[in-house]
């Protein structure tokens, strides 16, 4: 049976009328000329040169044939041998129904089930089996001419929360096909890109592969809650930052609702740019019964990722170690005060310790989340640097402020093998009344989140007397910059390393940086934002195998909250399923079919659809070449004829 992979291209056949119309118009039109006198002219039979006419018709036919071949090439014709339904006992078909999380989109599963039922009807005398693609391929029926069992399994199928992995279900289906003389594998899926990116190459050539995609209602949209980061604030409050992601190419708007124990639900409206992330923060009172909380957004075409469960307990304070040359160091006092503040504005809970450069030992270093080296990098001995490296490898945050001679500090870092420290010498005094101040880098920077409309705050305008002139490295981000666009704090983040360099010390000899309570949240929030989130919590996608100490498996089949030993864990949807991109069916076929798809092998198998694109391409070229030859011959003949006539 002849069919087309791209049948809409057949509409192009209407363009065949164009050369015909042109031919007719050209034929009928005789040029006219107004001549001074016609009395010397005489009527002459307009030559109806038979050969010329024949040439013109031949040219027309060749042009139409060329166009037809090109259109067929675009339409991709395939010939599938008609399946004989009667008197054939050893014909087996297996329907594999995709139930991955992306099948929760719109009415995909209903469509897929209907598709499976229709397929089953067309396979009346076939043995039919069904496999539900639940990753493992454990749900299946054996081939039988009685289709009821297979249809029941399909009918009862529900979408899972898991990322689609189709190797095992397809292998199972191939096993069920056994040694049947005619084998047909029917895959019903949304062919979501994430599910079908892997190269499987497991379907043999002698199995007729049919791909039946679900059809989306346009336009599809999907916004997901990808994570909620919670932490305990210093004032008996809990802050939850909800991150949303827009998977569509259009701007989307959603209302986020966060429900926490003991508090009334809170809502916020968020607008997301195409394919962009957006965050919104909620602050709740801390209650003794804190625990399971939930964030939801308005349901869209893919509802699975519109809800997330998260913990509001289990936040150990951030362990911060402040290292200074002596305990009277002004910036040490300031930073300690900032970390320990419990005022209204306090944004994170810290467990702060103070150490001098002499008392730094490995046990202290490796248990910290944050280490601040305040203007004393040059004082650290050679044994401390490897310890700090190990600390960074474990995900710690290192904060470095320059000493009296910033260049020496940076040279020290370089000498310790930390090529990340790049700076032009420095501490250049700036004019006494220069008003530089700080400008948070952009609206997504941590400071801009706290101090919205920061330009209006006098707080941010103050003189800086001297500063280290920092130079951006490949893996650095500017966290703070002056109003003159000089980097004042840069973060080096590469692999596990997370270091923040300040261009000035928190010391009045460097600047009039307001070392007051009003500015404490700035430092606290900045530092807290830089520390990896979810201290004491872990997040896993659905389908991840998690075992506790006793070897008990934790159910990760759907988004939920669980406790793993002392750790609070959050099971979230697998966001690879959230993408609305689908794979091209040709590509899916290439990923599935084993071996080279040579024409010969397709021809050998009567069940395999025959493709004609090469033939179409050949014919298009042949017709075009023939057209050129006829055209050239025709021109030459016409010219010769004219020469004959004129002589």
């Amino acid at each position: 049976m002849l069919s087309f992979q791209n049948p809409s291209a057949l509409w192009l056949l209407t363009t065949l009328a164009v050369p015909v119309i042109l031919h007719l118009l050209h034929r009928q039109k005789l040029q006219t000329i107004v001549f001074p006198t016609t009395r010397f002219l005489r009527l002459a039979q307009i030559p109806r040169d038979g050969r010329q006419k024949l040439n013109n018709i031949l040219l027309l036919i060749l042009r139409m044939a060329t166009m037809t071949a090109v259109i067929l090439l675009i339409a991709k014709p395939i010939y599938t041998k008609r399946i004989k339904l009667l008197d054939e006992d050893d014909k087996t078909a297996v329907i594999v129904l995709d139930t991955s999380a992306s099948m929760a989109t719109q009415d995909y599963l209903v469509q897929a089930k209907n598709n499976a039922k229709d397929t089953a009807k067309s396979l009346k005398n076939w043995k039919l089996a069904a496999v539900i693609a639940d990753n493992a391929g454990n749900l299946f029926t054996t081939p039988s001419t009685n289709h009821d069992e297979a249809l029941k399994l399909i009918n009862d199928a529900k979408y899972s929360y898991l990322h689609g992995k189709h190797r095992k279900p397809i292998e199972k289906a191939l096993a069920l096909l056994g040694n049947a003389s005619t084998k047909s594998l029917i895959l019903i899926s949304d062919f979501q890109y994430g599910d079908w990116a892997e190269k499987l190459e497991i379907v043999p050539d002698n199995v007729k592969l049919e791909l039946k995609p679900t059809t989306p209602k346009q336009p599809r949209n999907n916004v997901a809650i990808t994570q909620v980061d919670s932490r305990e604030l210093g004032n008996q409050k809990i802050q939850s930052i909800v991150t949303l992601r827009n998977f569509t190419p259009t701007t989307q708007s959603r209302t986020v609702t966060v429900t926490t124990p003991g508090n009334t639900p809170q809502q916020a409206k968020v607008t997301l740019n195409p394919h962009a992330l957006a965050r919104t923060a909620f602050v709740f009172d801390k209650h003794s019964n804190d625990g399971e909380a939930k964030a939801t957004i308005d349901q869209d075409d893919y509802p699975i990722d519109d809800q997330i469960h998260f913990w509001t307990i289990g936040f150990p304070p951030l362990k911060a170690l402040i290292v200074a040359e002596n305990e009277n160091d002004e910036q040490l006092i300031y930073l300690e005060k900032a970390f320990n503040a419990t005022a209204e504005q306090a944004q994170a809970a810290f467990d702060t310790k103070i150490a001098s450069v002499d008392t730094l030992d490995d046990d202290i270093i490796q248990t910290q989340n944050i280490i601040a080296i305040l203007s004393c990098a040059t004082e650290l001995d050679n044994t401390t640097w490897p310890k700090l490296k190990a600390f960074l490898e474990n995900g710690g945050l290192l904060i470095v402020t320059p000493g009296d001679s910033p260049a020496t500090d940076l040279v020290t870092l370089k000498n310790a093998g930390w090529d990340i420290a790049q700076a032009n010498a420095i501490a250049k005094p700036i004019a006494k009344n220069a008003s530089l101040g700080i400008a948070p880098l952009d609206q997504n920077s941590p400071l801009a989140q706290i101090f919205k409309d920061h330009e209006k705050h006098d707080l941010f305008t103050f003189p800086i007397r001297k500063h280290a002139r920092l130079k951006n490295h490949t893996n650095t981000t500017t966290l703070l910059k002056s109003l003159d666009n000089l980097p004042l704090a840069i973060q080096y983040k590469h692999k596990q390393w997370n270091i923040v360099f300040f261009a000035f010390a928190f010391d009045r000899s460097w600047s009039d940086f307001p070392l007051t309570n009003s500015f404490l949240p700035l430092i606290r929030e900045l530092v807290a934002a830089l520390v990896p989130q979810n201290q004491g919590k872990k997040r896993f996608p659905c389908g991840q195998v998690i075992q506790d100490k006793n070897g008990n498996l934790i159910d990760t089949t759907k988004p939920s909250l669980a406790k793993l030993d002392d750790l609070y864990i959050e099971i979230t949807p697998d966001y690879t399923e959230s993408s609305i991109d689908t794979i091209n069916l040709d590509d899916a076929r290439k990923l599935l079919i084993a071996g080279d798809q040579s024409v010969a092998s397709i021809d050998d198998d009567p069940a395999q659809p025959k493709q004609f694109h090469k033939l179409c391409a050949f014919l298009a070229i042949a017709f075009f070449a023939a057209e050129l030859i006829v055209s050239a011959y025709s021109d030459k003949a016409r010219r010769r004829q004219k020469i004959t006539k004129t002589t």
Binding site: L30, Q31, T32, I33, V34, F35, P36, T37, T38, R39, F40, L41, R42, L43, A44, Q45, I46, P47, K642, K645, T646
Partner: protein, 278 residues
């Protein structure tokens, strides 16, 4: 345009054929009794002892009527020609008028089709060459040509002796032309016929089948030019020869002006032919 085209040709004044006693010395002749002794060459008599009378070329003012055909057939621009036949005729008329005026002659340009369309003459009050040409410029070719009517009108200007220059393609007037030329020549007028034709009209060089529409009668003839070209050329040759022959019979100068040819070339041919004998 006219000034440029005639540059180099304006080398002398127009001379009267009648000899007399004023103007430029022409020749000697023997004294006959009754001659005015004022013109006797006394110096020659003193040297040679013969009585020789000095004969002078009399300088006269001449009238030139230029009749330009503005029928529809003149409005044809061939595939190789730079302009229409009428435009070509306009340029020739302008050049000749300039030349005549420079010589101090009187000139009139009469354009006509089935009636006289315009007449611009240097004898009219305030009529300069430029205003004559401006008048000429406004004419659009249309209709058929009535040469006789045009000549009757031109006689108002050219009553006595003078020169008549006819610029036309002379289509459909082989029969009427002899009579016309005789009429013009009757008053001992110098007559010049400039037959203006396009190369297409002579050769019929078209390669494709065409439907020809007669510019004056609107008759339509669909034909294959390559098939009838030979026949056509022969007919046109006969036509040109007939016109030429009539001109010869009536002592009229004939000039074939092909619009594909350089205008200066056509003028050169004309002026060379018009050089006075001797």
């Amino acid at each position: 345009m006219s000034r440029l085209a005639v540059e180099g040709y304006l080398t002398g004044r127009h001379k009267s054929l009648s000899k007399g006693y004023g103007g430029e010395f022409l020749q000697y002749r023997s004294y006959t009794p009754g001659d005015d002794p004022k013109y006797l060459d006394w110096k020659l008599f003193a040297r040679q002892d013969t009585y020789q009378m000095k004969v002078f070329q009399e300088e006269t003012q001449m009238k030139t009527a230029i009749l330009l055909d503005a029928s529809a057939s003149m409005d044809y621009k061939g595939t190789q020609a730079p302009c229409t036949k009428f435009r070509y005729g306009q340029c020739i008329a302008a050049c000749l008028a300039y030349l005549a005026l420079k010589q101090g002659d009187q000139v009139a340009i009469i354009t006509y089709a089935d009636s006289v369309l315009s007449m611009a003459s240097s004898t009219q009050a305030n009529q300069s060459l430029s205003s004559m040409l401006a008048q000429l410029e406004q004419i659009k070719p249309n209709g058929t040509a009535d040469h006789e009517k045009a000549w009757n009108y031109a006689q108002n200007f050219l009553k006595g002796r003078g020169m008549a220059i006819l610029i036309s393609d002379f289509h459909e007037c082989e029969n009427s032309l002899p009579k016309l030329l005789r009429t013009i020549r009757f008053g001992q007028r110098d007559t010049i016929v400039m037959q203006t034709l396009d190369q297409d009209e002579i050769k019929l060089p078209f390669l494709n089948s065409l439907k020809f529409i007669d510019s004056e009668t609107n008759a339509e003839i669909p034909t294959e030019p390559t098939l009838i070209a030979e026949f056509f050329q022969e007919k046109v040759r006969d036509f040109i020869d007939a016109i030429k022959s009539e001109c010869l019979t009536n002592q009229t100068d004939y000039l074939l002006a092909n619009t594909s040819d350089n205008l200066a070339g056509a003028l050169n041919a004309f002026l060379n032919r018009r050089q006075p004998a001797g």
